[in-house]
Amino acid sequence: MSATIVSLPDQSSARIPKVNYITKENGILSWLLTGDHKRIAILYLISLSFFFFIGGALAGLIRLELLTPQTDLMATDTYNKVFTMHGVIMIFFFLVPSVPATLGNFLIPLMIGAKDLALPKINLLSWYLYMAGGILAIYTMATGGVDTGWTFTTPLSTHYVNTNVLTTGLAAFIAGFSSIFTGLNFIVTIHKMRAPGMTWFRLPLFVWAHYAASILMVLATPVVAIAIVLIALERTIGIGVFDPTKGGDPLLFQHLFWFYSHPAVYIMILPGMGVISETISTFSRKRVFGYTAVAFSSVAIAIFGFFVWAHHMFIMGISNYAVLVFSLLTMLVAVPSAIKIFNWTFTLYKGSITFETPMLYTFGFMGLFTIGGLTGVFLGTSGTDIHLTETYFIVAHFHFVMVGGMLMAFLAGIHFWWPKMTGRMYPEKISQLAAVITFIGFNFTFFPQFILGTLGMPRRYASYPPEFQILNVFSTAGATILGVGYLLPVLYLTWSLKYGAIAGNNPWQATGLEWQTQSPPLTENFVVMPIMDHEAYDYEWLERQKEIEVTHAG
């Protein structure tokens, strides 16, 4: 029998445990100098939310400007800076670290039955690097901003703009190391610190997804660091790697940049897929359909993800045969994503489904990610990419994947593990409402952009021909609804910190090891080293445990 503590079915008399990771030590320094993965996760959660709302405010400005065809809210230069900073902040300071740095940090040691990550001090260093990068990014924004687009395309970024390219590049460079260290930490932890009996195929799929994403972080991020260094050298001393007049190749930068930035979209989405695997299993009371297929599809996405970067460059004069190869590989990377969607769908089959907020976000994810993934095939197909690339179709596609997919998964995860992180429940009704509002607002915002893109409206335009106005008005109106959908959780989650119902150890009756310890957990996570003696998502094991507890208690 395992030595884990299993919750009793009746939680009405439950109290928040007096000793837990939050109450263990007091004072701001005990947080800023902590090595506890759970406290670092909370630090990340607070700072990530801060950056998300800055990025979101910038998105609001973009949508306001696009309400009318003319440039009337701001000058084109300002608009260019706004969308650049929106991209930089959302990608480097929100999406890349979002799920891994908060939920991954908090949960991976708990899920595998470890006391902490393998390298707690490196973990804290990651957060400081992230903050240094983030503050630098905000500083550049305050001191004039940058207008290269988040893609830093040469030779625009090296020779033609005189905004803060170097400092913004430095911010992304520093944040990159934060990401590398986090990935490294996860890989070592997952390899070395699993509890007895926790074999690879007993790991929750959340851990598999993070393992795959960590490999990408460690292997791909250095390439963008190199690309940024080369930009800096080109700008300062003119080494001429990207400058055609010195024999350099301006396309080389895009190869380097996308060699990171394409895997980076998988760094962003894989952890989100991990969240979905957990929530869909818990709320349908069923083992994930085809566990092995879902686990390996994460790894397949990570591997194939490295070999599709040039599909961002189909019209840039790379060889036609290179286009063939990259288009084919892109089709192959779409398949594991399709597998995941169907496996999740069939997890519902013969389940016993309830519809709490995390599950609503999960359904939102599945619908929007399916659209995002399928429209990705439109762009991976070389012929249609000619017409659709560099238009709002691209914008809509990656927002469906990143906002509709990743952000929905992030919110699903935050709601799902909120009781574990804080010991209290969020208010159910209003959060269900927020999930529905987010879904509606999202579709209003981004679906019209597919039509705009097909009609040919280019991305990154501050002004546009008047016939595109109506769809843009729809989009802006939707963004307003979406904004409400994102504000609500901030309000009620903060409220729940003090007034939320006591959660107890395992409010969802989930099977993961993280649910078999107290909420919020102890600094050491477990009182006794847990022993894993069953498969992941084994709800029958959970039932047996409850019977044993009841007989012992009675």
């Binding site: 625009l156 085809g290 399709a338 597998i339 070389s382 249609t384 000619i386 335009y461 546009y464």
Partner: protein, 363 residues
Amino acid sequence: MDHISPVIWQFLVKWMTNFALFPPEASTIAPQMDALLFFMVLVSLIGLTIVILLVTSFSILYSKERHPVAVQVEGSTLLEATWTIIPLGLFLVMFVWGALIYFRVFTPPANAMNIYVVGKQWMWKAEHPGGQHEINSLHVPTGRAVQLTLISQDVFHSFSIPAFRVKREAIPGRYTTVWFEPTVPGTYHLFCTQYCGTNHSQMIGDIVVMTPEGYKQWLAESTSGMSLAQNGERLFASLSCAACHNARPDARGPSLANVYGAKLPLSSGGTVTADEAYLRESILNPSQHVTQGYVPIMPTYQGQISEEGVIALVEYIKNLNSDYRIQQTLNTTDMLPGSEGKAATAAAGSAGQKSAPQGMVKP
């Protein structure tokens, strides 16, 4: 409907009357691409419907009220194989279909009429072979294959014509090409779709598709009196190119007649096909591309000629193969000291340029 705000009402009316999912189809490739797009939309809708139907029906059938105890199902190799193989098959169909279109868009027919386009912050300049210049507009005839040879003078730009379903990046330091055959006369959008700095969203223009007669008339009205090749010839003279490239036996540079499209042996070994890109590179970066038998003495013209100038020179060199052109070349070498009398030789020598200069020996 007066309880609806008049602004919103106006909007709805405007939207319903102008509603479109696809831009106008005004080139031969447009219907082909739309067919594939339509197929993909159809497949996506079916796929999405399947997912939504499954999720909804499972949610109803297996909700906790109806189905209080879950039945554990491990997975099914057969089902998983099905939803691996069917999407893979569909994606591969799209891949092949898309690749066919891709190759069609970027493989111009041999008889295509060539127009040069130079992108710069923040305008498009088009150079017709007849010497007509345009800024932020492009006039093309229906029923004729038009190839664009694009280059950028500064940063990346992208020449996008949604109504033709074509788009091509204009890259600094490199020619790229794309072609189309317009089918429906009218005025269509031209966009720069690659972000290029401050006035990116103002780097737009009109594509004017005309009937062949209308186009002919437009050409006649817009001529500057000199063709692009003639402009190149003037440059060739003023830059003293003929001081070396004069096709004389003791010339310090190789003869340029018939050089376009030829396979040239390089002094570094190997051969190269002298296309537009090679000619451009040889003007701007000559020491990298020395033809066998010559020494790398040619100075670089980087920074001395604009991209339009290079285009004119390239166009001139491309045309250096007719008797007319030989004569022109020799006329320009007239300006060199010590070359009296060869114009007459050239005029007499219809045997081609190679033999013509052989009659001329330095006095």
